[in-house]
């Protein structure tokens, strides 16, 4: 029989890849989206069909993680076999500015979904996936981090996700719910939000090369992360819900790179070699050599600078995951390598920047879109 999945956060990066993946597996996919005054379904528009057509496999519902009633009603209506709780205020730096919203959406949001499953008597039917995060490790006590590494969150985002993690474990143990945490390390793609550092880099460099922008401003260049591809990671989310018993899994590539290395790798894709000078808040990168699409950039031009406003009040310096358990029990392995990930993102942002440049050349104001 055809399975039904409900995805919260379907308009986000992971939601879009997961929806596509599940539709490919023959699922009926329901998603919850927030009502905002602008269209916010860009990432899934290619999957979505006019609501007036019949036999659609992708259905969207209005809702919000801070609204218990809306969530309860949607779960009741959809009667899902699987819930993927991906919705969140997912930006770490923003969580320092909006701690209450972050707690409400990320921590209580998870609780509200779990309560909906319990109260509606769907414990025996519905399986639950909670999008947990490597930010739980924060000031990590060991390297690499596995399912056994103790948590030490360093941001309101990390604390809210910690609550969501444990409340998921709690509902599994106290009520016998099939509920899993995927402790996902950073996962990127061309669909990553533009204010996340990887997209800032690929988008910024593309725009610099096409003359739409002069300099790229970043925060902590030394931060080291384990970056995988979102498409690989959503497969792990699905796999977790197909097992005999529920469990919690680290999902990671096991490979670590600094933000600086990401910048270098992205620049190389454009034929650009950078030279780093200075340190701390004065660190910057200038053009060492340029060819290909970047050939017009002058050697010596400063293209990357540090802006202290992007530094976090408490930094998470280094994270790298050990996904041995997922490999062993789920048979999961990442397919996309770091270089391929950077290349794919760079290509997509170069394409987007070309479109902006074209529009500008024809006299239409290209949208500037700053943070």
């Amino acid at each position: 029989m055809r399975k039904t999945a409900l995805i919260t956060g379907i308009t986000g990066q992971d939601g879009a890849y997961l929806a596509e993946f599940l539709l490919g597996k023959g699922y009926a996919v329901h998603g919850i989206r927030r009502r905002v005054s602008l269209f916010n379904t860009d990432r899934i528009d290619h999957l979505y069909r006019d609501p007036h057509e019949s036999g659609r496999s992708l259905i969207l519902h209005y809702g919000d993680m801070t609204d218990s009633l809306a969530l309860m009603r949607t779960v009741q209506q959809v009667q899902p076999d699987e819930i993927y709780n991906l919705a969140a205020q997912s930006h770490v730096a923003v969580s320092f500015e909006e701690p209450e919203l972050t707690a409400n959406a990320d921590a209580l949001g998870a609780l509200r979904m779990l309560e909906a499953v319990r109260v509606l008597g769907l414990r025996g039917k519905t399986r639950f996936y909670q999008a947990s995060t490597s930010e739980l490790y924060g000031l990590a006590r060991e390297t690499p981090q596995s399912e056994r590494t103790p948590f030490h969150p360093r941001s309101p985002y990390g604390v809210a996700k910690l609550y969501a993690y444990w409340i998921t474990v709690n509902y599994r143990e106290a009520y016998g719910l099939y509920a899993c945490n995927g402790i996902l390390f950073n996962h990127e793609s061309p669909l990553r939000g533009e204010t996340f550092v990887t997209r800032k880099i690929t988008r910024g460099l593309a725009r610099i090369v096409l003359g739409l922008q002069r300099c790229l401003y970043l925060g902590n260049l030394g931060a080291r992360r384990d970056w995988g591809h979102a498409r690989d990671f959503v497969e792990a989310q699905w796999l977790m819900l197909q097992q005999r018993r529920p469990g919690d899994y680290v999902i990671a590539t096991g490979e670590q790179h600094s933000v600086r290395e990401f910048v270098d790798a992205a620049a190389r894709e454009l034929g650009l070699a950078l030279e780093w000078r200075g340190s701390g808040k004065r660190e910057h990168a200038l053009v060492a050599s340029a060819r290909g699409v970047a050939r017009h950039l002058k050697p010596g031009a400063v293209v990357v600078r540090v802006d202290p406003r992007y530094l976090r009040p408490a930094e998470v310096e280094a994270l790298v995951g050990d996904a041995a358990r997922a490999r062993r029990e789920l048979g999961w392995q990442p397919k996309v390598k770091f270089r391929q990930l950077v290349a794919e993102m760079m290509r997509a942002d170069l394409e987007a920047a070309r479109r902006d440049a074209l529009v500008a050349r024809h006299g239409y104001g290209a949208r500037q879109r700053h943070e």
Partner: protein, 320 residues
């Protein structure tokens, strides 16, 4: 004169803490969700009701918290407020989060925004550790919270640590193990046992029904624990501490001692009914108070079985 703000003053710890602070010359402002409706039985029992200023504050509401801090202008803040029953938290997980985790976050945020140099003590819970198994929990032991209450307390703990690390707030958590007193309400097992034993000693034919006798806890005396709270705020730099006696005791020993002290054999009066046991109740919860003993010179003064004798002494007076 130093000013202290005690959030959640109507509970057991709030009353004893108020007593300690008044004794040390503090001006004490205490909060409760609705100060006009609360009976403040604890303060009443200690005869302190008229000596503290009582105001209404809802921890889950930032503006309410900010106003109270602004008016009280405290040097020290004690965060004792919040839904405190693990059992109830299964039925009311949202309210538990609201009062415990969101309440702590609001205190931290309000304090940060106020720009005041006040110091903040936050009451943590040994429930964060879950079952400590054969070992003992200290400040390095990873959390494994097993109820919505414990999960909310874990989130509150990390919020305090986060505001200390990220914003330089003078804030710390005391991870408090069980601490008892005559001010405990009867839904707490210690009070339930002592009250029943006293009634039985005075001729009642009732049976004491308990879910299990096998659990092991680290029971301390609440007045000792409020001393620890105060000491946590006195050093130069803030640090988190486990507050425990370090002397684990089984519920069976607790029960046996309570009845024996009244000249009774517990086996004749107690029924164990597994249906009453909570499914996720940890078997063994034991703490290691080594750090607080070393750093702050704090040690639990009253431990088992003296603790039972003290509870009995008060209870039997109340029974007469």
């Amino acid at each position: 004169m130093k000013r202290a703000l005690v959030c959640g003053i109507s509970g057991q710890d709030g009353a004893y803490l108020a007593a300690l602070l008044l004794d040390r010359g503090y001006e004490v402002v205490g909060t409760s969700r609705d100060a006009a409706a609360n009976r403040f039985a604890g303060l009443q029992a200690l005869g302190l009701r008229e000596r503290v200023r009582l105001v209404s504050m809802r921890p889950g509401e930032l503006h309410s918290v900010e106003q109270v801090i602004e008016r009280a202008r405290p040097d020290e803040i004690y965060n004792l407020a919040g839904q405190s029953s693990a059992a109830l938290s299964f039925e009311q997980p949202l309210e538990t989060f609201e009062s415990v985790a969101a309440g702590t976050l609001n205190l931290l945020e309000a304090l940060r925004r106020s720009g005041r140099a006040a110091r903040l003590f936050s009451a943590g819970s040994s429930d964060c550790f879950g079952d400590t198994g054969a070992g003992v929990a200290d400040e390095q032991t990873p959390f494994r919270p097993a109820s919505p209450y414990a999960v909310a307390k874990a989130a509150a703990f990390w919020s305090v640590a986060g505001y200390r690390e990220a914003h330089g707030l003078w804030a710390c958590t005391g991870i408090l193990f069980n601490h008892e007193s005559p001010l405990r309400p009867e839904r707490f097992v210690t009070k339930k046992i002592v009250a029943a034993a006293c009634r039985i000693a005075r001729g009642s034919r009732e049976r004491l029904r308990l879910g299990t006798l096998a659990i092991v806890r680290d029971w301390g005396w609440a007045p000792d624990y409020v001393e620890a709270m105060w000491r946590l705020l006195q050093p130069q730099a803030p640090r988190d501490y486990v507050v425990a006696t370090g002397k684990p005791c089984s519920l069976e020993d607790f029960v046996a001692h309570a009845f024996a002290a009244l000249g009774l054999d517990w086996r004749e009066h107690v029924d164990v009914e597994p249906a009453l046991a909570r499914p996720s109740d940890p078997q063994r919860v034991c703490g290691d108070p080594g750090r607080i003993a070393r750093d702050l010179g704090w040690r639990a003064q009253c431990t088992m079985p003296e603790l039972v004798d003290r509870l009995l002494a008060v209870e039997s007076r109340a029974c007469v």
